[in-house]
């Protein structure tokens, strides 16, 4: 449908050089792509693939001293941008081409009211007078469905939610009706519900204003939702390009195939039930209330979790899913006793650990281990990874030799080279570090393993491997696992049972397969109904 319309953006042979001394010469190499009127082109790839560099090149926003375009051309409505002067580019920005960014929290100036930030665009690029500008701003704020535009006009960004801020960004970008909108992961930092709304908004506005959109994402669910055409990037090159239908259903390039097949399915895997095994973890009325304030301040308290009753049997994975602020991580941290719960009881086997003192807790520590979200901060950068792995067992009296021998075994188990124990964390990639963290946890021979968003920071291909690894380990070692995630796809693949949390409470709790098939609580239903790409089955081509 796009080929017969006019092209707004044509990029051909674009190559951007990296500064000397980096491991590869080009950030992007010979990029060819085009975006037509009313068309959404999704540029998809994993981190470091060069998709953001491509977007910033078009806007002329590359950091000057680090990245330079050395070859190729960028044409916006036929006008060559690579040779354009800085003044010309400035004139084009927000009038013919606009850009919105990933982090709505930081992309707006915190000390300027939202209305004024949009007004700046009009002041710079038009000669409208104040009342005309205000009218235009209120109109665009209406169009992006911001509630009560007059009030938000004089509000500051911190008074708005993430979704509202992204709407302000979109209003700012579209107020002058540009022909091209570049969206750099605009929904990645948002919860699924908000994400769905923003995606819908971009689609609506783009159709109404005939805007061409270059949409950058790493998420194939989003691609499936929004794209007309897709370009897949790997290591600075476009490896495959075509209509959404083509690329998602009949990918050609092996990398594309691998990426798509790594997208976890929303249909839960079939798993045998474990109802006969003994219960490893049980919580009763677990509650956590944070209170702030001191001597001179009035106390404010925030209920992060309440009335949480869950149990996990040996060999079973319980998933806690929910959006940010739902309290899922608080529950995990309470169970690991990294924070002290303010109410309720936690039983490991039959030992109550919610109220024991720090000293008594120490003897229970080895029974519960946790793997965190951020692989780059989970290992002490100054210590060799081997030292991190044997730290725990040696704390409990194991000899160094025995601990090292065990660490070597574990390295094998997590599919890493046992000889790599004397390397430092920076010598490992994110996925490898996450494996090291798993090895460190397993060295304690825990009964319960908590994975707190443990695969969320990883690229989709690596994510799939770590998920598989966790599942293998659970089966091999007959572990109980508590899996915290915001990602329904991940949850569908690793969890036997599911607890859905919202606003600190468990709203639905039961077998994962059952919940995915027949969500009973309205929140769960709402959550499932907005999961991006829910109507697609990824990786069908493999079984064809």
């Amino acid at each position: 449908m796009s080929l017969d319309t006019e092209t707004v953006l044509t990029v051909s042979g674009l190559t951007v050089e990296l500064p000397k001394g980096t491991d590869r010469r080009h950030a992007i190499e010979e990029i060819d792509l085009h975006v037509g009127q009313r068309e959404i082109l999704c540029l998809v790839g994993e981190s470091g693939s060069g998709k953001s560099v491509t977007a910033h090149s078009v806007m002329g926003l590359l950091p000057k001293d680090q990245l330079t375009a050395v070859a190729g051309s960028i044409r916006l409505e036929g006008e060559e941008l690579r040779q354009a002067t800085e003044d010309r580019l400035r004139d084009l920005r927000c009038t013919r081409m606009s850009m919105i960014f990933q982090e709505p929290m930081t992309a707006l100036n915190p000390v300027m009211s939202c209305g004024r930030q949009i007004d700046e665009v009009l002041q710079t690029h038009t000669s409208l007078d104040q009342p005309a500008r205000t009218a235009k701003i209120l109109d665009i704020m209406e169009q992006v469905h911001l509630p009560d535009p007059r009030r938000l006009f004089s509000s500051y960004p911190h008074q708005l939610s993430g979704g509202q801020r992204q709407r302000i960004m979109i209003a700012m970008a579209l107020v002058l009706d540009p022909v091209l909108l570049i969206a750099d992961e605009p929904t990645t930092a948002l919860d699924v519900t908000t994400q769905a709304q923003i995606l819908q908004l971009i689609k609506d506005l783009q159709e109404r204003h005939d805007t061409g959109v270059l949409f950058i994402t790493h998420d194939f669910g989003v691609v499936a939702e929004i794209a007309d055409r897709v370009a897949v990037m790997q290591w600075g090159r476009i490896v495959e390009q075509g209509t959404t239908e083509q690329v998602l259903k009949r990918p050609d390039h092996p990398y594309t195939k691998m990426l798509i097949s790594s997208v976890p399915s929303l249909v839960p895997r079939h798993r045998e039930t474990r109802r006969a095994e003994p219960v490893v973890l049980r919580t009763e009325e677990l509650a956590m209330t944070y209170s702030q304030g001191g001597m001179f301040q009035s106390k404010r308290s925030v209920v992060a979790a309440q009335d949480v009753n869950i149990e996990i049997r040996r060999g079973e994975t319980l998933g806690i899913v929910g959006e940010s602020g739902s309290g899922k991580t608080t529950v995990a941290r309470c169970i690991a006793r990294l924070i002290d719960p303010t109410g309720g009881r936690i039983y490991i086997d039959d030992d109550e650990i919610a109220r024991v003192s720090v000293g008594q807790m120490r003897s229970h520590r080895r029974r519960i281990q946790i793997v965190f979200q951020d692989p780059y901060r989970s290992l002490n950068p100054r210590r060799m990874v081997g030292a991190s792995i044997i730290e725990g067992p040696m704390n409990f009296g194991q000899s160094r030799d025995a601990a090292v021998a065990r660490a070597r075994e574990l390295m094998g188990l997590v599919q890493l080279d046992p000889d790599a124990l004397d390397r430092y964390p920076h010598q490992f990639s994110g996925g490898q570090r996450q494996r090291l963290c798993i090895a460190r946890a397993l060295a304690m021979e825990p009964e319960l393993l908590i994975a707190d968003e443990a695969v969320s920071a990883l690229d989709v291909s690596v994510q799939a491997q770590v998920m598989d690894l966790l599942d293998d380990i659970r089966i091999q070692l007959d572990l109980a696992m508590l899996f915290i995630t915001h990602d329904l796809r991940v949850a569908a693949q690793v969890c036997d049972r599911l607890a859905v949390m919202s606003a600190g409470k468990v709203v639905e709790y039961g077998d994962a397969a059952e919940i995915f098939a027949n969500p009973s609580h309205e929140y769960t239903r709402a959550l499932f109904s907005v999961a991006p790409g829910r109507d697609w089955t990824f990786g069908e081509f493999l079984t064809d």
Binding site: L61, C94, F101, A107, P110, V111, M112, V121
Partner: protein
Amino acid sequence: MRRLAATIPVLGMVALFVFLMLRMTPGDPAAVLAGDNGTPQQIAEIRETLGLDEPILVQLGIWFGDLLQGDLGQSYFFKKDVTELILLRVEPTVALAITTLVITVLVAVPIGVIAAYRHGTWLDRCVMGFSVFGFSVPVFVVGYILIYLFAMQFKMFPVQGYKELADGFWPFIHRLILPSITLSVIYIALIARITRASVLEVLGEDYIRTAYAKGLPNRVVLLRHALRNAAVPIVTVIGIGVALLISGVVVTESVYNIPGLGRLTVDAVLGRDYPTIQAVILVFSGVYVLINLLIDLTYSFLDPRIRY
């Protein structure tokens, strides 16, 4: 309001230190207070008024009580009420501090912003070089070099001395220029540095990229977006730098022979005049804390996220 409440314990703590300082030293505080040429009668008198035979907590109470009434005690060295003594010396010091502050802000903020904007160029390196230099050359050396050059060689300014504002504006300001420049060197170094660092940090923020993506000219991005957001740390350091200013005042007034609070401090120390030393410390610290309180209160104008 919360901020106001937080300064009270700080001031209390300062007063406590000043009180303890004297009591913790070995020897008879009354004898120490009377100074080197105190008569036995004076010592007995002091003992009486301070209640030195009472338990230490009672003494503290008496001392605090006097303090709250604005009674800073008697100087046995200058033979005067300390409060009166201080009031006599306030004008030169305030004049010197204000001119220094004005010079500093007018010079330091612009060069800091330029250095940040031209990050990595020779201009930036010059500003940073000056900044390290300003930190390293002691105030009095700067003072004497300036006197040597501009007062003795070029005869542009009087060498030393002070004229009150009441004697006319020109003589007043003419004698303040060299001392203020002297005093502002280290302060400029500090503020230029923090301005550069803060603006540089803000320039890396996402909303600066947004501002560029809107097609705003560089000047607007730099001033309206970057400097506005860097204002809080800059203003904070201007406040913290007042401590530097106070320390500098003590030295500068000695170099230029200005009869202000700084000179009073040095004279008091040389004369072992403890009531005056205590009082000067209290006054300077009080002013310092209050200035920083005022600065904290301006935050809510500079940054809408901060509310009290």
